[in-house]
C-alpha cells in the first residue's frame, strides 16, 4: 500500500504544477464508474481525484454497480450537475452510446476511460492493449525467435483477448510467414481462469508431444497455469512464457526465470493522464491539441476517434529492480526462492 501512497503523492505534486499553469480553478470533472466491485477502480478514482482537487477543481463520481441501466441514469444525474467533463468507464460499450450523445448535446466533453465506446466526439484514454500484445511477443522473440508457439488467449467474450492476440501476431508475422514460427496451439480460456489455462496447456503439450518452444499467455494468472503445466514436464524455465498485470507472483516467476515477461499497466499513470486531459479539456483546449493524442480506429466499428494510448511497462529479469524501487513489490516478495543470476535480488 505504501507504493500507492507514494505515487499518489507524486501525482499530486505533478498535478499542482500543471494546475498552477492551467488556471483551471472552479471547473467540475465527473466520473461514471461501471462498478466498484473490482478493487482496481478505487485506485483509479483516488489517482484522478488527487490530480483534480490539487488543481482546484471539483470532483464528483457515481458507481453504476455493474448495471447498464443504472449507468444511464447516473449520467443523466451528472449532466444535471453541469460538469465541464464527464469521464465514463462504460459497463456496456454499445448501450452507453445514447448517454454519450446526451453528454455532447449538453455541451459537455466526454472521455472514454479504459473501456472504449465508439463516439467520434469523445477522447479515449487507455493502455495500448494491442501494444501489450506487441510487447509480449517482442520480449518472447528476444529469447526464442523460431519454433512451435502456443497461444493461450483470454476469455472469448472479452475484446481485449483479441486485441492482445492481434498485437502478438503483428510482431510475429514476419517469422510466421517465413515458416520459422509455427502456431501449434491456440485456445481461448474460459473466464481467464488459471486452472483452465493449465488444462489447455497440458492438452497442448500432450498433442504436440512436448514440442512447444514458447508460450504467449495473455495475462499473469493464466501464466501461472501455463508454468505449472510446463513444470510437470520439466520444461519450466526453458520455455519462454509471457504475461501481463504485474502480479506479485508473476514478478517472482520472472525473477525465478520461469516466466519471461509480465507487462505492467500502472493504473495510477492512467488515472493521472486522464485527469490531466480532463482538466485541459475543461480549460477549453481542443481535443487534438492535448499532448499525446493520436487518431485511433481499432475498435469494433472502426470509428475514428482521438485517443491517448499509454505505453505499458514490460517487467523482465533486467528491470525487476525498477518495480522494487517504485514500491510495487518488496524485494522479499520478488526474490522469494531466487538463488542466483538476478542482479536486483543480490
Amino acid at each position: 500500500m505504501k507504493n500507492i501512497i507514494k505515487t499518489i503523492a507524486l501525482g499530486a505534486l505533478l498535478a499542482t504544477a500543471i494546475g498552477g499553469v492551467a488556471e483551471a480553478k472552479g471547473k467540475t470533472i465527473a466520473v461514471s464508474w461501471k462498478t466498484f466491485q473490482e478493487e482496481r477502480w478505487k485506485g483509479d478514482e483516488a489517482a484522478i481525484k488527487k490530480v483534480v482537487e490539487a488543481a482546484g477543481d471539483k470532483f464528483i463520481s457515481t458507481d453504476a454497480q455493474g448495471s447498464a441501466q443504472k449507468q444511464a441514469a447516473d449520467i443523466e444525474g451528472l449532466i444535471a450537475q453541469k460538469p465541464d467533463v464527464i469521464m465514463v468507464v462504460a459497463f456496456d460499450s454499445d448501450a452507453i452510446l445514447p448517454s454519450i450523445k446526451k453528454i455532447s448535446d449538453a455541451g459537455i466533453k466526454s472521455i472514454a476511460y479504459d473501456v472504449q465506446f465508439e463516439d467520434p466526439n469523445a477522447l479515449y484514454i487507455t493502455f495500448d492493449n494491442v501494444g501489450v500484445g506487441r510487447i509480449m511477443a517482442k520480449e518472447v522473440l528476444k529469447v526464442k525467435d523460431s519454433g512451435n508457439f502456443a497461444f493461450i488467449k483470454g476469455d472469448k467474450g472479452d475484446p481485449n483477448a483479441t486485441f492482445l492476440f492481434q498485437g502478438q501476431l503483428e510482431v510475429l508475422k514476419a517469422q510466421m510467414d517465413a515458416g520459422k514460427i509455427k502456431n501449434v496451439c491456440e485456445t481461448f480460456t474460459d473466464g481467464w481462469k488459471p486452472d483452465n489455462a493449465q488444462k489447455n496447456m497440458e492438452q497442448c503439450l500432450t498433442s504436440t508431444n512436448n514440442k512447444v518452444d514458447a508460450v504467449l499467455s495473455e495475462n499473469d494468472g493464466m501464466a501461472s497455469g501455463v508454468v505449472a503445466a510446463l513444470k510437470a514436464q520439466g520444461l519450466a524455465g526453458s520455455v519462454p512464457v509471457s504475461g501481463q498485470d504485474g502480479d506479485l507472483a508473476a514478478i517472482n516467476r520472472v525473477a525465478l526465470g520461469t516466466q519471461t515477461v509480465s507487462v505492467w499497466k500502472n493504473t495510477d499513470d492512467l488515472g493521472k493522464a486522464a485527469a490531466n486531459a480532463a482538466i485541459a479539456l475543461a480549460d477549453g483546449t481542443a481535443v487534438d491539441k492535448i499532448p499525446g493524442v493520436a487518431k485511433f480506429n481499432g475498435g469494433k466499428k472502426k470509428v475514428e476517434m482521438n485517443a491517448i494510448l499509454l505505453a505499458p511497462t514490460p517487467i523482465t529479469k533486467a528491470n525487476i529492480g525498477d518495480a522494487i524501487k517504485a514500491g510495487h513489490i518488496t524485494k522479499e516478495q520478488a526474490c522469494a526462492g531466487v538463488k542466483d543470476g538476478v542482479d536486483a535480488c543480490k
Partner: protein
C-alpha cells in the same frame, strides 16, 4: 414385474439370460452403461485426434495414450472428490451451490497463510508450512460446511438459498483475502498433492504393490461375503459369478495400473534426476520420438532404449480413489450413511424413527466442506497458485457429475462410484475437445448436452424398469 403378496419372484425360467446375469452378479446395469459410454467417448476422441495429429494412441490418436489417460485422471480428481460429497447431500434432498466459491476461499486462505504469513516467518520450505496449509484447508472447509448445514437445519433456510448466498459471498471473501491477486508459489511439499512434481508419483514398484493389495482385498471381500451368506443361510451367488467378479475386478485394477505405469517421466526430468543423483546414462542413438534419455556424442538426447523412469499413480489420483473408497464405506456400511439415505427416501419417516435429522444435516454439510478442503489442496497444489477464480463454476461441474452419475435430485438414490465416473466422463469430454483444439464454447455446449441426455436416458431406463 409382479408385486402381489403371493408371487414375489418371477419364475426363473421366465427370466431372460441378461436379467439373470445382472441379478446374480449384482452388477448395476446402469453403471455398466456408463462405463460403455465412457469407453465409447474415449475411442471417438482417439480416432478423431488421430485424423488431426497422428500419435501413438490405441487408434492412432492422442487420447488413448498412457500420457493423456494419466493426465485425465489427475484433471478429474478435484471434481471427483467433491462429487462424492455432493452425492450424500443430494441423496438427503439438500444441495450445495457454494462448493466452487468455498474452494476458492479455502485455497486462497491457505495460500495467503503459506506465502505471505508462514513463508517469511518460518523461512520458505519449513515443514510446518505445508502441514499448516493442509490443516487450514480441511478445517476451514469443514467449518464453512457446518455453517451452511446449521443455517439449513436450524435456521430452516432452504439449502438452495443458504448456499446460493455462499456462492456469492465466499467468492467475495476470497477476493478480499488476496485483493484479487494470484497468490503463488505454494510450499514445495504442499505442491506434491497436485501431482505435478516427481515426488508425487508412486513409481511402478509401489503402484504394482498397491494394485496387488487391492486385488487381494477384492478377492477377500468376495470370500468374506460368501461366508456371511452361508452363515445366515442366504442364497449364494453361483460360483461362476463369484469368479467373474473376482477376475473382472482384479483385471480392471491391474489394467489401470499397467496404463499408469506406462507413462514415462518427461525426458527433461529424467535428465535432471540423473544429473542430481549421478545416474549413469547409457549411450544410444538419437530418436526424437523416444521417451528415454541417452548419451550421444557428449549430449543428452531422446532415444527409445536408454534411461527411463515411469510415473505410476500420482498422489491426487490416489487421494481421489481413497476418498471414493472411504465415502463408499461411509455411505453403505455406517449408521450415518444409512440415516442419510433413509432421510432422503422419507424425511418424515426418518424423523419418526428417532433420527436427529437436523444434526445429520449439519454433519453431511460439514463432510461436504471437508471434501472441498481436500479438493482445494489438490487444485491449488496442482496450479502451484491460488486465485479467487480457482473454483469458479466448479459447483456446476460437481452437481453435473453427480447427476450424470445417477444421483436423483428427488433424493434417496445415488452412488459414490457413479458420481466419480460421471466426473470422469465430463472431464474426458472437456479434455478430449481441448485436445482437438475445439474452443471452450463447444466444450460447454457438449457437457451441457450430455448432462441433459444422461438424465433423459436415466428416466427412460427407470420407467422401463417399472
Amino acid at each position: 414385474m409382479s408385486s402381489t403378496g403371493s408371487s414375489q419372484e418371477p419364475g426363473l425360467n421366465q427370466e431372460g439370460a441378461v436379467t439373470r446375469f445382472f441379478r446374480v452378479t449384482e452388477i448395476n446395469p446402469r453403471m455398466l452403461g456408463m462405463v460403455a459410454a465412457l469407453i465409447l467417448i474415449w475411442c471417438i476422441f482417439d480416432v478423431w485426434s488421430g485424423f488431426i495429429n497422428p500419435n501413438e494412441g490405441l487408434f492412432g490418436g492422442s487420447f488413448l495414450t498412457p500420457r493423456n489417460l494419466w493426465t485425465l485422471l489427475v484433471q478429474t480428481s478435484s471434481i471427483a472428490v467433491m462429487s462424492s460429497g455432493m452425492v450424500l447431500l443430494i441423496v438427503m434432498r439438500q444441495l450445495d451451490l457454494s462448493v466452487g466459491s468455498m474452494l476458492s476461499l479455502v485455497a486462497v486462505a491457505s495460500a495467503v497463510l503459506q506465502v505471505y504469513q508462514l513463508g517469511p516467518l518460518l523461512g520458505v520450505g519449513h515443514p510446518l508450512i505445508w502441514v499448516a496449509g493442509v490443516a487450514l484447508c480441511l478445517a476451514l472447509g469443514t467449518g464453512i460446511g457446518a455453517v451452511n448445514g446449521a443455517l439449513t437445519a436450524y435456521a430452516k433456510i432452504p439449502a438452495f438459498i443458504v448456499t446460493l448466498g455462499g456462492l456469492i459471498a465466499y467468492k467475495g471473501i476470497a477476493f478480499l483475502l488476496a485483493s484479487g491477486e494470484t497468490v503463488a508459489p505454494m510450499d514445495q511439499t504442499f505442491e506434491v498433492f497436485g501431482g505435478g512434481v516427481q515426488q508425487s508419483w508412486l513409481g511402478p514398484f509401489w503402484s504394482w504393490t498397491l494394485a496387488l493389495v487391492v486385488c487381494a482385498v477384492i478377492i477377500g471381500a468376495l470370500i468374506n461375503g460368501r461366508r456371511q451368506r452361508t452363515r445366515f443361510n442366504f442364497t449364494l451367488r453361483p460360483v461362476w459369478a463369484e469368479f467373474l467378479l473376482g477376475v473382472v475386478g482384479s483385471g480392471v485394477v491391474l489394467g489401470i495400473t499397467k496404463v499408469m505405469n506406462s507413462y514415462p517421466w518427461p525426458p527433461k526430468l529424467i535428465e535432471n534426476f540423473a544429473a542430481a543423483n549421478n545416474v549413469v546414462i547409457p549411450a544410444g542413438i538419437e530418436d526424437r520420438d523416444g521417451s528415454a534419455i541417452c548419451m550421444a556424442a557428449e549430449k543428452f538426447v531422446r532415444c527409445t532404449t536408454g534411461l527411463i523412469y515411469y510415473t505410476g499413480y500420482s498422489l491426487p489420483v490416489l487421494v481421489a480413489l481413497a476418498v471414493g473408497l472411504v465415502m463408499t464405506f461411509i455411505a453403505t456400511r455406517t449408521v450415518f450413511g444409512r440415516y442419510v439415505y433413509a432421510t432422503g427416501g422419507n424425511p418424515e419417516a426418518a424423523e419418526l424413527s428417532g433420527i436427529n435429522t437436523k444434526w445429520l444435516t449439519i454433519k453431511v454439510f460439514a463432510l461436504m466442506g471437508t471434501l472441498v478442503g481436500i479438493s482445494s489442496v489438490i487444485s491449488s497444489a496442482r496450479l502451484n497458485a491460488a486465485t479467487n477464480s480457482l473454483g469458479l463454476s466448479n459447483e456446476l461441474y460437481v452437481i453435473a457429475a453427480t447427476v450424470i452419475g445417477g444421483t436423483s435430485l428427488a433424493g434417496g438414490v445415488g452412488t459414490i462410484y457413479g458420481a466419480m465416473l460421471g466426473a470422469l466422463i465430463m472431464q474426458s469430454i472437456i479434455s478430449g475437445m481441448s485436445l482437438l483444439n475445439l474452443p471452450a464454447a463447444y466444450q460447454d455446449m457438449v457437457v451441457g448436452g450430455v448432462l441433459v441426455l444422461a438424465v433423459w436416458l436415466d428416466q427412460i431406463y427407470s420407467r422401463r424398469l417399472k
